[in-house]
Symmetry: C2
Subunit: 290 residues, 2 copies
């Protein structure tokens, strides 16, 4: 069986062919321009390399509610041409195969839940801190969603005493997680690339504090088995330890969680988790469509 995967990003689309276990055999990168041009190249690739189903992890916001009239659309993006674009409709029309459709963070989280740090756990929370902050929550193999997918990257947090940064979020300035702790917020504070910051720079204490607050709130909203962090910022290995210490201080024993070293962890898969997750979700969609 051949399975297809698409990681639809703001600058490029990664299209891959793989197997039902999530192994990638071949992949191409297609620049994100206008939907007409980009999506023709995408479907040309899959017409030349036939697959039984496709899994898509897309930039957003997107409509993931299967009962909605605009299910499968990219919705309110500022990206020229992509607002209200029916991605699933176009893929189905051109390729006539089952299509799984969710957010870019959800596909990576799904791979971590199924084959990464979350293996064997029923309630897996995956955060990514990179250019933005996002999260996906997988319970018994299904994504948590209500009228749409979560947007946990923008939860409101308490700004740390001493951190007077004005914030980077165009919607929430210094009030939300992304505005305080995503890569661009770190770099604007530091005046240089995050990767050039010493590991004892106080900015990391701020970032760890915001991630710890986010973990406390996620713990109290969701009661997960495990919280997995991915994304560029988490390449800083010292961060996870700092997050754990601050998490325990904030939570202060109010509820019981699994052992902290097994509760707040880094990703186990590499940064290709997204494509792997999209392949696995395509297999799931194929099974459910039968």
């Amino acid at each position: 069986m051949k399975i297809g995967a698409i990681e639809a990003g703001g600058t490029k689309f990664v299209c891959a062919i793989g197997d039902e276990k999530g192994n990638v055999e071949q992949q191409v990168r297609i620049p994100t321009t206008e939907p007409g041009e980009t999506m023709e190249s995408v479907t040309d690739f899959f017409l030349a390399n036939e697959v039984d189903a496709i899994g898509v992890g897309s930039f957003g916001p997107i409509d993931v509610n299967k009962n909605s009239k605009t299910y499968g659309y990219i919705t309110s993006t500022p990206k020229p041409g992509w607002k209200d674009y029916n991605m699933v409709g176009f893929l189905k029309q051109k390729l006539n195969i089952p299509v799984s459709f969710t957010t870019d963070v959800n596909v990576a989280g799904y791979a971590e839940a199924m084959q990464g740090a979350g293996v064997g756990k029923s309630n897996v929370l995956y955060w990514t801190i990179g250019t933005g902050v996002g999260a996906g929550y997988i319970q018994n193999g299904e994504f948590l969603q209500g009228i749409s997918h979560p947007e946990m990257g923008h939860i409101l947090l308490r700004q740390v005493k001493g951190d007077n940064y004005k914030g980077k979020c165009p919607y929430h300035a210094n009030q939300c997680f992304e505005g305080l702790a995503a890569g661009p917020a770190i770099e604007e504070r530091a005046g240089k690339k995050a990767i050039e910051l010493a590991s004892d720079d106080p900015i990391w204490d701020y970032v760890a504090d915001y991630a710890a607050q986010a973990c406390v709130n996620a713990t109290l909203f969701l009661r997960p088995d495990i919280i997995i962090f991915g994304g560029g910022v988490i390449h800083q290995e010292h961060l996870i330890k700092k997050i754990r210490v601050k998490f325990e201080k904030y939570l202060n024993g109010y509820v019981t969680t699994p052992d902290i070293d097994k509760y707040i962890v880094r990703i186990a898969l590499d940064d290709d988790a997204g494509i792997k997750g999209a392949l696995l979700l395509a297999v799931k969609e194929l099974a459910e469509s039968k």
Copy 2:
């Protein structure tokens, strides 16, 4: 069919007999003393008034994870004698009928979801602000829970500029929702009963602000169809309007929600929602046990 309901509280147990539609026919109050004494009185009542199933909404924390060895227990309460008490085990042993077991806030939320403000909605969030703060989330008739039930009343929030209150939460002081906005926090700030505070007292602005932040975070974690507020503090009718205004300011249009007047609302049932929800959950448990 006769159905039983128990609202197990810290000062009293309310035991009721009702029908499968959630109508109460008879109820008694039993003081909460030692488990031996209280639970004997409870089971005596149900032995004298036979029922087909019982629904329990209990003070907590409790173990609601059916896969756990201590499912049905009250766990780490400071209440003398009740720590690690096997409430479901005792009821089943004495009465030999199906027992539904969840938190006090969950039973009230369930009634609101099924027969109150949440009728017809798939994703219902219920907050109560009273002596404490708690919440239950019901998706398609099932409670959201992970390794245990949520504890959303203790989520960390940003203290409002000008509110220098030291907080009332023994775990999180002025860092969490309950510590900032539950009844005792309002009354300690004011030096008098909440009910005696003028509706334009600035303390209400603080309370509305914390509730609005909690709604923003709940919206981004869960994406509910509706957020319903109950509890003694919400008897202040002006509060909901204040919460809506602050919610829209904080969220700043980042995600789409239902029309605000239908999204953040007060309870539709009266304060007996708890018993009604416990009856309805007993009916559900009975159906699932067959």
